[in-house]
């Protein structure tokens, strides 16, 4: 419901945005895009797995199910994806890992948005020195490889889930700040913002009630496209032992030991966590690309530059 109907403002509420979206050409476009359907199906699969992980996983993540060597048994019989070098069920661990991957991804994207969006809004709305300062920081953050900075940060402040997320957000916020700034720059010139200023709205109200809701399309796209990248980066850090630690069944962490196990011909502990990462990342990438083309094709350049 647009806020006009409340008889107060000319802005647009966030729930109104989705209602408007359902009637828009973007939605029609999205419905016809195969990538959207593939992506959507994969995302539903992954999210469903995360929610119902406890029902799907046949064994506990730390149950040692094999009593005698060799502990790592190939797929088959009671263990459809085999067991790892400690005799734990690979299938159960991969399933439970979905939850951790999504948790890390969502928290990271949320933190990046919480840092980047306000900075971008301020930079775009106020311009001048604020803009200059924010955009310099954005340039630095965008040109620096996130993994290197994250590794250095964790090197000094220690590993673990919280530090992993903070470390990756150090560079990740910049994409949000840049897109939000670009949105704010165009929206602040709109007549409805001018009229809001004319009736004496405070800057803070204009930014939060007018500029942000009207500029949210690209943010949704960026968030969807950032999520898979975040999951990939986090799994790389977990793999290097810099994030979530054993015995937590994070996919990246499961692959740490698998690296040396493949030398003994134990391929199943390496293959399946990787396949899980690919399904997840591919699903969100498909969905993100389709959303971008439907909602805001101009965003293409942002992903590549």
């Amino acid at each position: 419901m647009s806020v006009v109907e409340k008889g107060r403002k000319v802005g647009l509420s966030i729930s109104g945005y989705f209602r408007k979206l359902a009637r828009s050409p973007a939605w029609t476009y999205l419905k016809r895009d195969e990538r959207a359907w593939i992506g959507f199906a994969l995302v539903i699969l992954v999210v469903g797995t995360a929610i119902f992980a406890d029902f799907i996983a046949p064994y506990g993540i730390n149950d040692r199910l094999i009593e005698e060597a060799p502990f790592a048994r190939p797929p088959g019989g009671a263990f459809i994806l085999g067991t790892d070098s400690q005799g734990r069920d690979v299938f159960s661990r991969v399933i439970q890992g979905t939850r951790i991957a999504l948790e890390i991804g969502l928290l990271l994207v949320a933190l990046e948005a919480v840092i980047g969006v306000p900075l971008g809004l301020m930079a775009g709305y106020y311009g001048g020195k604020v803009d200059e300062l924010v955009m310099r920081a954005v340039d630095v953050a965008l040109s620096f490889p996130g993994l290197v900075l994250a590794a250095a940060f964790i090197g000094f402040f220690g590993s673990g889930l919280n530090n992993l997320i903070i470390a990756l957000s150090l560079t990740g916020w910049a994409a949000f700040a840049r897109i939000t700034r670009a949105q704010a720059l165009t929206i602040k010139e709109q007549p409805y913002v001018e009229s809001a200023r004319a009736i004496g709205e405070k800057d803070r109200t204009i930014i939060s009630k007018y500029i942000l809701p009207n500029g949210i399309s690209p943010l949704i796209v960026i968030a969807t496209m950032t999520l898979p990248a975040a999951i990939l980066l986090a799994s790389a850090l977990n793999f290097m032992g810099l994030g979530v630690q054993e015995p937590t069944p994070a996919w990246g962490a499961m692959l740490t030991g698998a690296r040396s196990e493949v030398l003994d011909g134990i391929w199943w502990t390496a293959l399946f966590p990787g396949v899980a990462i690919i399904i997840t990342v591919l699903g969100f990438n498909f969905l993100g690309d389709a959303l971008r083309d439907a909602l805001d094709p101009r965003l293409r350049e942002y992903k590549y530059v």
Partner: protein, 260 residues
């Protein structure tokens, strides 16, 4: 002991001591091995650069043709297939790909050194290939969009109108002009390869700076982490300078000093 390691002085004093040393090429010594950090870096820097350059070449060798073909066959099966491959390329965790390739080529087929390490070209090819695939996804996508931009220009229509062969139009007219944005974007992306290199060095036991950094993090060897991080910053700055220079060099319309 506390005095030798400088732990009896406050952190900010130690920081400036370290910074003073940096300008004289002294990055301190490792707390674990007592080896000068600068010696470790000098020994490992060439290996990391070797890996990154080889990976960069692979990414261009895979990504550039894929992007060009996709742009030329726009909105056909070929285009969708090429872009599907590119999307797959950016969705695969490269460390996992490395492990799988080690298993397939090193263990299963027995074609190369399965344990990884440093040596002749047989040690370089797999890590460079893996590093390259991760980047080739983005390379092909930006090549495609740069080519599409150029192909819609008037001078391309003019070249076609005057009856040039399609090959001449594509290779001499379109590609030359698309080279400017492609090269600039590639150089801008160059720093990202360092992040990939850290992970790949660990997978393939490649004794470069990345592996040294990971080991230092696990042993809390702060001066080594600090020194290597600093070196990576220097590399990023150099890569950004290369991007700026290539931009000005390839595009005579833009020269620094004339802008702003």
């Amino acid at each position: 002991m506390r005095n030798a390691l400088g732990l009896d002085r406050p952190p900010h004093v130690r920081y400036f001591e370290w910074l003073g040393g940096v300008f004289q090429g002294d990055l301190g010594r490792s707390w674990i091995t007592n080896r000068p950090v600068s010696a470790t870096i000098l020994e490992r820097l060439p290996r990391t650069i070797e890996l990154c350059l080889a990976g960069f070449l692979f990414s261009v060798a895979i990504g550039l043709p894929l992007g060009i073909v996709a742009a030329l066959k726009r909105k056909t099966k070929t285009d969708y297939t090429a872009m599907g491959i590119a999307l797959f390329g950016v969705s695969i965790p490269n460390f996992w790909l490395g492990i799988m390739l080690i298993f397939i080529f090193g263990v299963w087929l027995g074609w190369g050194p399965a344990t990884g390490g440093y040596g002749g070209p047989e040690y370089l090819i797999l890590p460079a290939l893996v590093l390259g695939t991760a980047l080739s996804g983005t390379t092909s996508r930006l090549t495609r969009s740069a080519m599409l931009d150029v192909l819609s220009q008037d001078y391309i229509r003019a070249a076609r109108a005057k009856g040039l062969r399609e090959r001449t139009v594509v290779y001499t007219h379109a590609l030359k002009n698309a080279a400017i944005p492609i090269a600039t974007l590639l150089f801008m992306r160059l720093p990202w390869i360092f992040g990939g290199a850290i992970v790949i060095e660990m997978v393939f036991d490649w004794p470069g700076m990345g592996l040294a950094m990971i080991n230092a993090i696990h042993t809390s060897d702060f001066l080594v982490i600090q020194g290597i991080a600093l070196m990576f910053v220097v590399l990023v700055i150099i890569a950004n300078m290369l991007a700026d220079i290539s931009y000005a060099y390839l595009n005579p319309r833009i020269r620094y000093g004339m802008r702003r």
